[in-house]
């Protein structure tokens, strides 16, 4: 083995780094060529312009929103937006209360309405069905508008209704209200949150039939899945008709069995159950059989499209609450790009200033810092581009700020390391052993301090609000990359540089000149007498140096100190 161990280790580390870069770059290139990855990371809407809507769920009085429900709402809204053709929308929860919807560009009003629309899907039994108008046919055969309900009419059932289909629900007041209800004018107003345990007057979504419905019997969230497909007869031959298949969960299966058992025995409108979405009846099929397995099929005059629409509504429509817009923020593309430009300019200026300062402080060693920063920047760019492709990560302005701040944090690792090497040189070590010893000490400090940073980033990411997350994410990412770079690049490079004549001879421009660093011990068995330090201190420092020497160095030093002791008294004070 011609090469000594540090050099071998250094090359191994550098190869690892090279391998990482190649893998990341290869993955990104492959993604760009064969998939939908982009060379530039995707931007959040504060940088590319877009609309952010924060929705607060609105529930019936006295209820609270569970985190699970909120998660469900997010997935439902996402599916809905995707279905509406808006690409790259981002939906997330904020805290345990709100839902944040981010849409790139400026969405049209229709899309906005669709997102905000409350979507509560329920199954209610039909009590009465009628024409869409408020006209009643009088005794004379003429149609006249029904009178507005008189306020004095009885509004509580005289006998307690025994089930959802019990006509006792229809009080005189409700009957009058139903008669006076017009799909054209009233239905538009009444799409609020209707109490689940009370009857509801509403229309179908085409406005052609009005219904008086019983209380909610099956909740939409009990639907596990809904699909559309061609129906088949009992013998398995396709009938060529389109139908919608619903699969209920256990609870839904139970309640649906109860409902169909009851409805199957009833006649007329009461045989129907209504599927109500956002207070409108989207379908009111009749009951032909008792369904106990929780897998009903709705058939009728469906086309492929209408069957699919109904299946989607059943599947995605089951949001257990409606929403109120808490904040809506539209950022123009101009504003976004000007923010991005500001961020980039600031980053560039910051980087140049850091470069100048480190060159000034560390001479040629400063170049190691600069190149390390460039390597870190390249790794960060690749990671963000990959994350943006694979996990839909978007770089926000707060994220850019995180990256710029990271320049300082990253450079600090190098500073800590260089200062430790300098300390070792001051103690009289040769450059190669100073690099190794300095690294050993710096390593611990770097790991401990970076762990603090990572801890902060993780806590912020998990606990904080949406725009804080972007920042925490880049901070955490750059912390990890920083450690990688110092481990796989900066340290190996210094190991190799320590072998070069330029650095090893302690050239004044290397930034590691032992003479400039006031080293006490230089070369084999050769002490340089410190001038600026008092005799007592020299002895103290010399002792410190001696303690850190290798055995060979110590032996050499002992020989030398025998002759040097005449002009250096031992003992003394050091402060």
């Amino acid at each position: 083995m011609a090469k000594s161990t540090p050099v071998k280790k250094a090359w191994r580390s550098l190869s690892w780094l090279g391998a990482i870069v190649i893998v990341l770059l290869g993955a990104l290139t492959a993604g760009v060529i064969w998939s939908n990855a982009t060379w530039l990371p995707k931007l959040a809407l504060d940088l590319q312009g877009g609309t952010q809507i924060i929705l607060a769920p609105q529930v019936e009085n006295g209820q609270t929103v569970q985190q699970q429900q909120l998660d469900q709402a997010v997935s439902i809204i996402r599916q809905r937006i995707d279905a509406s053709g808006v690409s790259e929308a981002e939906i997330s929860t904020e805290g345990s209360k709100n839902i944040v919807v981010s849409i790139p560009g400026t969405p049209d009003q229709q899309t906005l309405d669709r997102i905000k629309a409350s979507a509560k899907l329920d199954f209610r039994p039909v009590l009465l069905a009628g024409g869409p108008t408020n006209e009643v046919v009088g005794a004379d055969g003429k149609s006249t508008p029904a009178p507005t309900p008189a306020p004095g009419l009885q509004s509580t059932p005289s006998t307690k209704p025994t089930n959802g289909s019990d006509l006792a629900w229809i009080t005189p007041a409700l009957q009058a209200k139903f008669d006076a209800f017009s799909c054209a004018s009233d239905a538009a107003k009444s799409t609020g949150v209707a109490p689940a345990d009370k009857p509801l007057i509403t229309c179908d979504d085409g406005g052609t039939v009005k219904y008086l419905l019983g209380p909610v019997e099956v909740k939409g969230q009990d639907i596990k899945d809904a699909t559309s497909g061609l129906t088949s007869s009992s013998s398995g031959v396709t009938t060529g008709q389109w139908g919608v298949n619903i699969i209920f969960n256990d609870e839904g299966t139970k309640s649906f069995a109860t409902v169909t058992t009851r409805l199957n025995g009833l006649k007329g409108a009461q045989n129907q159950f209504a599927i109500v979405l956002d207070g409108k009846v989207i379908s009111a099929p009749t009951t032909n059989a008792v369904i106990t397995d929780g897998k009903p099929q709705i058939t009728g005059n469906f086309t492929q499209d209408t069957a699919k629409t109904l299946a989607d509504q059943l599947k995605f429509g089951a949001l257990p609450f409606s929403f109120q817009v808490q904040s809506q923020d539209t950022i123009s593309a101009t504003l976004g790009s000007s923010q991005l430009l500001s961020g980039l300019i600031a980053g560039l200026i910051g980087l140049i200033l850091v470069a100048i300062y480190t060159l000034f402080q560390y001479r040629l060693l400063g170049f190691v810092t600069i190149i390390s920063l460039i390597v870190a920047a390249a790794l960060t760019y690749l990671s963000i581009a990959l994350l943006s492709w694979h996990y839909g990560y978007r770089l926000s302005l707060a994220g850019v700020a995180g990256l710029i701040v990271a320049i300082g944090f990253t450079a600090d690792s190098f500073i800590v390391y260089f200062e430790r090497i300098r300390d070792e040189l001051r103690d009289g070590r040769g450059l190669e052993s100073a690099v190794e010893a300095g690294w050993k000490r710096a390593q611990r400090t770097i790991y401990a301090s970076k762990a603090t940073n990572l801890l902060a980033a993780i806590v912020l990411y998990v606990l904080a609000a949406a725009n804080v997350r972007g920042f925490a994410f880049t901070l955490g990412l750059t912390t990890i990359i920083d450690v990688l770079v110092v481990l796989l690049f900066t340290h190996p490079v210094l190991q190799l540089l320590a072998k070069t004549k330029f650095f090893n001879s302690g050239n004044a421009w290397s930034g590691l000149d032992p003479q400039a660093l006031g080293a006490v011990y230089r070369g084999a068995a050769q002490f340089r007498k410190p001038t600026a330090v008092s005799a007592g201190k020299a002895a103290t420092a010399g002792k410190e140096a001696a303690r850190r020497q290798t055995i060979a160095e110590r032996k050499a030093a002992e020989l030398a100190s025998a002759s040097a002791s005449s002009d250096s008294k031992t003992g003394g004070k050091d402060s």
Partner: protein
């Protein structure tokens, strides 16, 4: 050929030059106390923090690429839709106008945006609108406070495990509070709006302040652990030497961390709409400077003080001090040289 700071570093390393951070701690404590009291008083005198629209609730419009930034147009446009609303209008960067008003309904927001685009003769795409419910800021603040508490607890435990003493954790966390309070005070003094970006800046200071303290404390750990037995220094002097030895690192790191942040502040202060950058960088700039300062002048002396009461440390210090007069006599030349 040594640069001045390198030479300075050499002297600090050997102890030829030494700043008495630990010994003069009463002075630093007094300064910290005064700064903290001032930082609490400043916002009180100034009538509280200047909270941004995200915390107050309201509607905000930003119009870009405007030729004529006459603010009266904004009020007219707003009044035409919502007669009684008052517009707070500011001109940003020469060609931008920002209009803030009370919370409008969505419909009104849309109409006002259109009216503003017409009034300033720009396409409607140049108008950015923000509509924020009043509870949003409160939510964010509450989450942030939760984050801070959890982080502090975890950091306290992690540091106590790493350093094998909870006293370092305690010193680091006390100085962290010092940093946060003073940063808040100076931020209030400058008078920038407190926006969600400011909160981000604050949360980062948590990380930075502890980070900086950990770096210095790691050197303190080395010095006090490795050299305790052999050392002719008292515990306080060992801590002080560690702080001095890492002083050049502290200065270099602070400068390197401050440079990019300062450039964000500079750009953010003059560029349109980069409020996020501006607020975040001001909080960070103050935080980095104060955080670096407090590690040296507060955390280290405090840690030393916490430990000096321990029996083992007391014994060691007494021993060191007992042999010192003899050594000093034998080396009176050295003392004179100082």
């Amino acid at each position: 050929m040594a640069s001045r700071l390198t030479k300075f570093g050499n002297d600090l390393y050997t102890g030829a030059r030494s700043f008495d951070f630990v010994g003069k701690r009463k002075i630093w404590y007094a300064i910290a106390a005064v700064m903290i009291i001032a930082s609490i008083l400043i916002p009180v005198i100034k009538g509280g923090f200047n909270f941004s629209i995200e915390f107050r609730g309201g509607s905000q419009f930003q119009i870009t690429n405007v030729d004529n930034t006459d603010t009266a147009k904004a009020q007219d446009a707003l009044s035409s839709i919502v007669p009684r609303a008052v517009a707070h209008t500011t001109v940003v960067n020469g060609d931008g106008v920002r209009v803030q008003t009370d919370q409008l309904s969505e419909e009104q927001t849309r109409q006002v945006a259109a009216a503003l685009a017409k009034a300033y003769e720009v396409p409607s795409t140049e108008v950015a609108s923000t509509f924020i419910g009043p509870s949003w800021g409160a939510d964010v603040t509450q989450q942030s406070i939760q984050g801070i508490v959890v982080f502090l607890l975890l950091a306290f435990i992690a540091m106590a495990l790493y350093f094998r003493t909870w006293k370092m954790s305690a010193a680091a966390i006390v100085s962290l509070f010092h940093d946060l309070i003073i940063t808040a005070g100076i931020y209030a003094l400058v008078g920038f709006e407190v926006s969600p970006a400011t909160m981000i800046g604050f949360l980062t200071i948590l990380g930075y302040s502890l980070y900086d303290t950990v770096v210095v404390f790691d050197k303190v750990r080395e010095n006090t652990k490795e050299e305790m037995e052999l050392s002719r220094r008292t515990f306080g002097e060992s801590v002080n030497l560690a702080v001095n030895q890492t002083l050049v690192r502290s200065i270099n790191t602070a400068v390197v961390a401050v440079l990019p942040v300062a450039s964000i502040l500079f750009i953010g202060a003059f560029a349109l709409g980069a409020d996020t950058l501006r607020d975040i960088s001001l909080a960070l700039l103050i935080g980095i400077v104060v955080g670096t300062y407090s590690t040296i002048f507060l955390a280290a002396p405090m840690y030393s003080q916490f430990r000096e009461g321990e029996a083992a440390v007391k014994k060691h210090d007494a021993k060191v001090l007992a042999i010192r007069p003899k050594a000093a006599k034998a080396d009176s030349v050295a003392v004179a040289a100082e």
